[in-house]
Structure formats: C-alpha cells, structure tokens
C-alpha cells in the first residue's frame, strides 16, 4: 500500500520531467542505475550480516572504501597507469586486481568479526552495535592516516567511450561495466546461497541458529563465511566505484554505507533480492534528486533518501520484499 503510494508520488513528479526532455531523463536513469548497482553491492553485505547475527554492521560502508583504497597500490604494482591504451591485458589485470581485493577484503572482514563481534555474541545487542561504530572509526582512521583527509585521485583506466542512444543520451562503457559487474556478482551470490552446501548452511544459520547447530553446522564458520562474502561484494563495489568516479576519500563509506543500509531496509532487511532492488531504487532516487527532478533539488538529495528510510521503517518495517520474521 504505502509502497504503491511512494511509487505513485515518484511517477507523478517524474512524468512531466521525462516528457519535457526525455534524453536527459534517460541519462539520469542510467546514472541512477550505475550508482544503484554499487549501493546494491554494499547493501547485500548489510543484509546478509543482519540476517545471520542481527547486527547492523555500521563498519560495512568502510569495508567498501577499504576495497577501493587497497586496489590503488595494486594498480601501481601491476604497472597500470592512466593514458595506456586499454587492451585485453588491462582488462585482465583489472579483473585480477579486483579478485585480489575481494579476497583480502573478505579476509579483513572475517578478522574483524573474529576479534570485535564474536566475543560479544551473547552480549546485549547494543554492545556489538556500538562496537561496529567503533570499528568504522578505526577503519576510517587507518585510511585517513594512509591517504589523508582530502579526495584521492583514482586512476582512470576504463575507456570513456560512450554509445549514443536517443538525442543527447548515451551509455558509457563505464556504466556498462559497473552494471554488468553487479549483475554477475548478484547472480553468482544467488547461485551460491541457493545451491551450495555452505550457502544452505548459511541460510539455515540465519533462520534458526540453534537448529542449524543441531544439524552439525559449525555456526562460527557460516558466520565467518557471511562476513567474507559481504566484504567480497563490498570490495568489488569499492573497486568499480573508483574506476567509475575516479575519486575516493577515507570517509566515503560513511554516506555510501548509510545509503546502502537504507537500500537494505527498503528491500526488507535479511532479503538478498530486496537489497539488490533497494540499491537500484536508492541509486535512482538519488540521481533524480541530484538532477533537480524532485522538489528541493540537488541540495536536499540526501534528505529524500533518508525520508524514504523513515517512511519504510514507520509504515512497512519488513520492507519491499521482507518476509514476516517471527519475533524471537
């Protein structure tokens, strides 16, 4: 019901914009989807961690930034720099770099869980929550010391080629890469979670931890796997963010994390498809607001996103695709 209302309001506000200058509108939609794809990759980790240990992992946005930061020295180490012709070798090296970043990022997150959250597993829920905020500060602090307080230029390695669409609208190779990467990762995740032994064990742990233990599932392992996969996705998101926007900063994850969290709540926290759709939705809303399509204009684009968060929490806490989770 309320979702219908949100979509209706958006439709009413957006239709005239689309009618007056459709190519521009289309362009904004493309940006929104590319942005949203990155939010989706972050939101998946939020929603998975929440699903399995009911922790809102406030440090997750910084894990995303960490992915972007770690890829930069790797890019130099692999001898990639701006202005090279982007042949197959560059693509392959970027793929290798991304995979390395994903794995290291996953490892870091597993370590964080082990050190910071696992000892608090039986503590009141507020304790791990506050710890997550602390971990967020620590990660941002490390990246601040590492690369300073201002924007850091991220090497522009992808071609700026754009495919013309209608009128002035065009689809960039970068847009395609971001969107395709996100789709591939979401598909792989879905296959993994739905079809593999470990994936099923993770879902079982999320649904009923004690029952999962009675099946012989080592829940420490499934929880570690969840943190690993969440960080793998966020790490990939960090790399493609860098390649797309060519600028990163130590506190990037703060806002991106909040947006992704909003996306996860919007989609129904704990629900993977919901997080992916929620990411897209938040990306679009932000793009529309930034393009002055929504009342208030670019200056209040964040307000629009968080207003949606509040509306969802008030009227439909289970989100777009949320299941009726029995109160524990």
């Amino acid at each position: 019901m309320f979702l219908a209302a949100i979509f209706l309001i958006l439709a009413v506000v957006l239709t005239p914009k689309a009618a007056t200058n459709f190519p521009f509108f289309l362009q904004i939609v493309i940006y929104g989807i590319a942005d949203g794809a990155i939010f989706a990759l972050i939101a998946l980790g939020y929603t998975m961690v929440y699903g399995i240990i009911e922790l809102i992992n406030f440090a997750h946005g910084d894990i995303f930034t960490l992915g972007a930061f770690m890829s930069m020295p790797l890019i130099s180490a692999f001898g990639l720099s701006e202005g090279q012709s982007s042949g197959v070798v560059v693509w392959l090296l970027l793929l290798v770099i991304t995979v390395i970043v994903m794995v290291i990022n996953g490892g870091v997150n597993v370590l964080i869980e082990r050190v910071a959250y696992r000892p608090l597993r039986h503590a009141p829920r507020l304790a791990p929550l506050i710890t997550a905020v602390g971990v967020s500060f620590i990660l941002e602090g490390i990246m601040y010391v590492w690369r300073g307080a201002s924007n850091v230029h991220y090497p522009d390695l992808l071609p700026d080629t754009r495919i013309p669409l209608i009128g002035s609208a065009s689809l960039g190779v970068k847009d395609i890469i971001v969107i395709v990467t996100a789709i591939v990762l979401v598909v792989l995740l879905t296959i993994f979670i739905g079809g593999t032994r470990l994936g099923k064990a993770m879902r079982a742990t999320a649904q009923d931890r004690e029952a999962a233990q009675l099946m012989g599932i080592d829940i420490n392992r499934t929880i570690s796997a969840t943190f690993f996969i969440g960080a793998v996705l966020a790490g990939a998101g960090g790399v493609i963010f860098g390649l797309y926007f060519n600028s990163v900063r130590f506190d990037l994850g703060f806002e991106a994390g909040l947006f992704a969290f909003t996306a996860a709540v919007f989609g129904g926290i704990g629900n993977l498809q919901g997080a992916a759709l929620g990411g897209l939705f938040i990306g679009l809303v932000q793009a529309f607001a930034t393009a002055n399509f929504l009342p208030g204009g670019a200056a209040v684009s964040d307000i629009w996103v968080f207003m949606i968060l509040i509306i969802v929490l008030v009227f439909r806490p289970t989100g777009l695709l949320g299941m009726q989770v029995p109160e524990k």
Binding site: K200, R203, A204, E210, Q213, L214, M215, G216, I217, M323
Partner: protein, 236 residues
C-alpha cells in the same frame, strides 16, 4: 558399556538452576522416556546432552567419552540426533533442503539419498510435499519433518522432545508407530513426552523428573504401575 551416561549433571540458565544432579543411562537399542510436568527440566536435559547447554557440574558420556563441553555440531558428528522442542524446521526452506541439512555431517551422497527415501517411507506426506516450503506445512507435517531431519544424520541416539505436542490424535498414533519402527531398525531413542501413558507404552524404561531432579526410575511397566506415577502423570 552404556551408550549414554548422564552423571550428576547440574545445568543453569544464567543463575537459574534447571538441573540438579541428574543421572541417567541409556543402553544400546532401548527406548527410554523422560516424563515430568512443565518446567521439570526435560528439555534442558536434552539440550545438555546435545550440547546446546553445557553442564556446570557432572558429565555427559557417549560410550565412555565425555561430550559435556562439546559444541552441538561436534555432538551430532559423534552420533546424537536431536529433534528439538517446537520442531524448529527451517521455515523458509523446502522439505528436501531441510532433510539435506539434516545430513550435513555426512558425505556419502548415495547413503543420503537412500536415507531420504527411508524418511519418505516413514512419512509419505513428506514425499508428496518434498518441494514445499517447510513453513507452509501443517504442524503435524512439520513434526514429521523435524523427526526425519534428525534421522538424516544416521544417529546412534535420537533425542525426541515432545514429538506429539499439539497433534491430532490420529497423527499422534502415527508418530508413535514410527518411533517404534525407527527403534526396531536399530536407533536408540530418548523420548520426552507430556503424554506419559503413551510414552511408557512404547518405552523400555523411564525416568521421572521433578523440578530438575530425577525422583523415580524403572522399567516402563513398573512406572505404569507405580501409584505415584499414576497419580501425578497418568491421571488415574
């Protein structure tokens, strides 16, 4: 050597003591029942055996090996299956995935498949609904699934916590039939029941638990004839 020995076990929930010096033994091939009123500590006894709770004092031994401090997943690997109170099926997964997870500790694909068939043999309803999401099953079907799932690890000892609770009488009979059948195929069973009369009919031996203490034990026949048991649990 006894299959399972619980020796003077104390178990706490925080500061609340739920078990006070509980001792019991189970031999290979038996059905043993644990009866007692609500809050007596029956569920806690099973949780202590399967590792969901840990004894503060005393020992739990499986064939002489102390398992009292092990995590539940380790206990399952050593051959104890537990169908917990309240069924606890994975509500958002299919019947088959639930059974698949029941066999999580095993690697023999062929054996797993034949055991799935065995479970479907006990509970044909589950075969009909094998692709259905467990949360949409009726209470009785969920109970069948919980028992079937616990069987999938091929346990030497099966712990059943009130398998007949809330079921229609005809289903209760089915469940008890299957319990006997499972036992006759070689699985030792520790059965908790509110329905003491029914439990004592299928069991070889029984223990009576009151406020965390074993107050009586004996053959099922002796307990059925005991005036105390009759008065307190059989409503005679």
């Amino acid at each position: 050597m006894a299959l399972l020995e619980v020796e003077t076990v104390d178990t706490y929930y925080g500061r609340v003591q739920a078990l006070r010096g509980v001792s019991l033994t189970i031999d290979d091939g038996e059905i043993v029942t644990l009866i007692g009123s609500n809050g007596a500590g029956k569920t806690t006894t099973l949780r202590t055996i399967s590792g969901l709770a840990h004894p503060a004092r005393g020992h739990v031994r499986l064939r002489g090996l102390d398992i009292g401090g092990l995590a539940p997943d380790r206990v399952v690997m050593r051959g104890i299956g537990h169908a917990p109170e309240g069924r606890r099926v994975f509500a958002r997964m299919s019947v088959r995935d639930n059974l698949f997870l029941g066999a999580y500790v095993r690697k023999d694909a062929a054996g797993i498949r034949s055991d799935e068939e065995r479970v479907f043999g006990f509970f044909p309803r589950l075969r009909e609904r094998r692709n259905q999401i467990a949360g949409t099953l009726s209470g009785g079907e969920q109970q069948m699934l919980a028992i079937g799932r616990a069987l999938m690890s091929r346990p030497k000892l099966l712990l059943l916590d009130e398998p007949s609770l809330g079921l229609a009488p005809i289903l209760v009979d089915t469940i008890f039939q299957v319990i006997k059948e499972i036992n006759s195929q070689g699985t030792t069973i520790l059965l908790i029941e509110q329905n003491a009369a029914k439990a004592l009919q299928v069991a070889n031996r029984g223990y009576v638990l009151e406020t965390g203490r074993i107050v009586q034990e004996g053959s099922a026949k002796a307990l059925l004839e005991s005036p105390d048991v009759q008065r307190a649990y059989l409503g005679i």
